[in-house]
């Protein structure tokens, strides 16, 4: 083949290429792309899976966004993010197997968990390995769990403000019945809800735990309805059990108000008419609410485009709270890593704990928890109150959990102590 370029042109092109390459090298150090592994450890099956499985949607959106930009820039390095899942089925012994696999084989630098019994079981191992664990809930925060952080939601504290909201806005609803499964997450929600009920002089007509092995919820609801409550709090009932409880409330003719952690509307409306849940009180704002940060609005829009009706990966259900929660953990971790200039867990933890006004999806958040958990590793975000109206979860109000706690400290500590939940009782 005949070359059309002369020697001068070739030399000129070579020179330009060298100058251009050197120019880039001098102005900016070459960022080496590495991969950082993050463990997603939780019940991907079983009755608590509704608190873990849906979170993968938000995680996928965040991870794909970072990786499509070339990776997450931390210090001089750029990291592709890889999520490695492990299904604990909500069984603590399986969580222990999983954490060993994720840390020792997969070298994860962060563990995303739901919190509760699974997260508590893995603490001795993660503390020895010095790997950060981020949970949805704060009930695992404790001085002996220094690497655990309750990040995504104000659980179990938020039950106090939802009961407070009912007392404020529905003062005629004075008789309250509470029930939840008998395990650590359930007990926490019961304690905070009971404290708020007592603080507002509500009459507690029923407060019992049910077994985690329950298959027939009819007798539980029969016993509750015999006490003629105005409000039934299902506290933090596992999503699968909540659907059965709500169905039984409907079938046995309950006409009052319901309070619970969150509402999986697609599942619930398969069992009860939309009108049955009118005025039911929850805690999670829909993220398209303009009161929320722009990032939250954007996430909601991204979720709908990808997983909503007719979306690329249409998931066949409505958006609900868990979708954003694990994504928030990743955002907070990334914030800490970038502040620390490293993905090393110890450095990220120190950077996060030294920070104020952290960028939570629901708004600026701060560390709290010393009196209740013995350590300030619970990240408190703004707390919204929602009501179900015509089949939609609508944001109605906003409360400050820390302010509520400071006003009602005595009664709250009384109930936490009653259920052996204070950090120095464990």
């Amino acid at each position: 083949m005949k070359c059309n370029y002369g020697r001068f042109e070739i030399l000129f092109l070579l020179l330009i290429t060298i100058i251009f390459t050197l120019g880039i090298s001098i102005s900016e150090p070459i960022a080496e792309t590495k991969t950082v592994n993050i463990g997603y450890l939780g019940p991907l099956s079983g009755p608590a899976s509704g608190w873990c499985l849906p979170g993968l949607t938000g995680v996928n959106i965040w991870v794909d966004e970072q990786n499509s930009k070339g990776g997450l820039k931390v210090g001089n390095d750029t990291y592709k993010i890889k999520i490695i899942k492990y299904d604990t089925e909500g069984v603590p012994s399986k969580a222990i197997d999983g954490v060993k696999k994720l840390i020792l084989q997969d070298n994860v630098v962060l563990l995303q968990t739901q919190g509760g019994a699974d997260a508590t079981a893995i603490q001795p191992f993660v503390t020895r390995q010095k790997v950060i664990v981020m949970g949805l809930t704060s009930d695992t925060c404790a001085p002996e769990h220094p690497y655990y952080m309750g990040i995504s939601e104000n659980y179990p504290m938020y039950h106090c403000v939802s009961i407070q909201y009912i007392a404020d806005k529905y003062p005629l609803n004075k008789k309250i019945a509470l029930t939840v499964q008998d395990e650590v997450s359930g007990r926490g929600s019961m304690a905070w809800a009971m404290a708020a009920a007592e603080a507002n002089n509500m009459e507690i007509v029923y407060s019992k735990f049910y077994s985690t092995e329950t298959t027939d919820f009819a007798p539980i609801i029969s016993a509750i309805l015999a006490t003629k409550p105005d409000v039934v709090s299902l506290c933090a009932s596992w999503p699968e059990y909540r659907a059965h409880l709500v169905e039984q409330l409907y079938l046995q003719g309950f006409k009052g108000q319901i309070e619970t952690s969150e509402y999986e509307l697609t599942d619930l409306f398969a069992k009860v008419p939309k009108s049955f849940l009118d005025h039911a009180v929850g805690h999670y704002p829909r993220l398209d609410n303009k009161l929320l940060p722009a990032d939250a609005n954007k996430f909601y829009s991204d979720w709908q485009k990808r997983y909503g009706k007719g979306g690329k990966d249409d998931i066949g259900r409505e958006y609900y709270s868990i979708d954003y929660e694990y994504r928030t953990q990743l955002q907070i971790w990334a914030y800490g890593a970038q502040k620390a200039g490293s993905v090393e867990p110890e450095k990220v933890r120190n950077a996060l704990m030294a920070s104020k006004d952290l960028p939570h999806t629901l708004g600026s958040s701060n560390w709290w928890g010393d009196e209740v958990f013995g350590i300030n590793t619970s990240l408190i975000s703004p707390q919204y109150i929602t009501e179900i109206l015509n089949g939609e979860e609508v944001t109605i109000d906003k409360y400050d959990i820390i302010e509520w706690y400071n006003k009602n400290k005595e009664v709250t500590l009384k109930y936490l102590k009653k259920y052996d939940l204070l950090w120095n009782q464990r």
């Binding site: 499985l53 049910y210 077994s211 009819a218 007798p219 169905e247 079938l251």
Partner: protein, 287 residues
């Protein structure tokens, strides 16, 4: 008063549910002297069949229930021929083998349809029966006539059909039965087929009100074993009486106290009862 009536109704439904599953288990044990721990998984397959046919493919509910019952019954016959026949009469061996089957069936179903969120099966009968202040969801009500029809049909079969009489003979003494020309292999296949079909029927009927997951069998099998043992292992009438006892015990204690206490009370009752009457309610004492 309303609570008492409601508890009676709740207890009756719970008893009918346990009885349908436990009678199948008891039949298998009585005829084959085989302990089938995978009986709960047959119940699960019944529920999955209804989820697939009724919830996903929108077939009529009762057609889906019928197909689930037949399908699980056929599965029982196949399992008897391939797995249980070589260990017939050896209770411990059959128990160990069936525990293995539990894992195989669970993993198979989990691989096929995933383990995540429960499979939603919409209620066929919306609303509730409201009578004398007692309200029971229609979907739960149908378990009661279904149980009555199944048991009447089953007792008729046992008393009046050739194969029913053969099953009773094999249950009493399989060697003597075979000397009289009864085909024991065929009887065992029929027993496991009918027993499995009952589990499949229960799973199919309950799919809209239970959590359909690969592990749903686990939650019922323990109670059903207790019912079969207390009833007098292999004794059908005893099993039905024990199902009533445990159905009501669980319901009453759950209503008055809570379901954790109910589990403890049921187990303590079983231990106490068996220590006084080891052969169960209607079982024969060993000479």
């Amino acid at each position: 008063m309303e609570l008492i009536l409601q508890t009676i109704a709740n207890g009756l439904i719970a008893s009918a549910f346990y009885a349908i599953i436990a009678v199948g288990l008891s039949l298998t044990f009585g005829v084959m002297n085989t302990v089938n721990y995978a009986h709960g998984e047959f119940y699960m397959i019944g529920a999955y069949t209804v989820w697939q046919l009724y919830a996903i493919h929108h077939w009529p509910f009762f057609l889906a229930v019928g197909i689930a019952t037949i399908l699980v019954g056929l599965l029982g016959i196949i399992v008897e021929r391939i797995i249980f026949r070589p260990v017939r009469g050896k209770a411990l061996s059959s128990f160990i083998i069936s525990v293995g089957m539990v894992f195989i069936i669970q993993v198979f179903v989990a691989r096929m349809w995933g383990v995540g969120h429960v499979k939603p099966v919409p209620a066929v009968f919306k609303g509730a029966l409201d009578i004398f202040g007692v309200t029971i969801g229609w979907q739960r009500v149908i378990i009661l006539p279904s149980a009555v029809i199944v048991f009447l049909g089953f007792f008729y079969f046992l008393r009046n059909s050739k194969w029913g009489r053969a099953l009773r003979a094999v249950a009493l003494d399989s060697e003597a039965a075979s000397l009289y020309g009864i085909n024991v292999n065929k009887c065992a296949a029929i027993a496991l087929g009918i027993g499995s079909a009952m589990a499949g029927l229960a799973g199919a009927l309950m799919a809209p009100i239970m959590s359909v997951t690969p592990y749903m069998g686990h939650s019922v099998i323990w109670t059903c074993f207790v019912v079969v043992i207390v009833g007098g292992a292999g004794n059908i009438k005893g099993t039905i009486i024990a199902a009533l006892v445990f159905g009501y015990l669980n319901t009453i204690v759950s209503t008055i106290f809570d379901s954790t206490v109910a589990s403890i009370v049921s187990s303590v009752f079983m231990l106490t009862f068996l220590s006084i009457r080891p052969q169960g309610i209607l079982g024969y004492a060993e000479k």
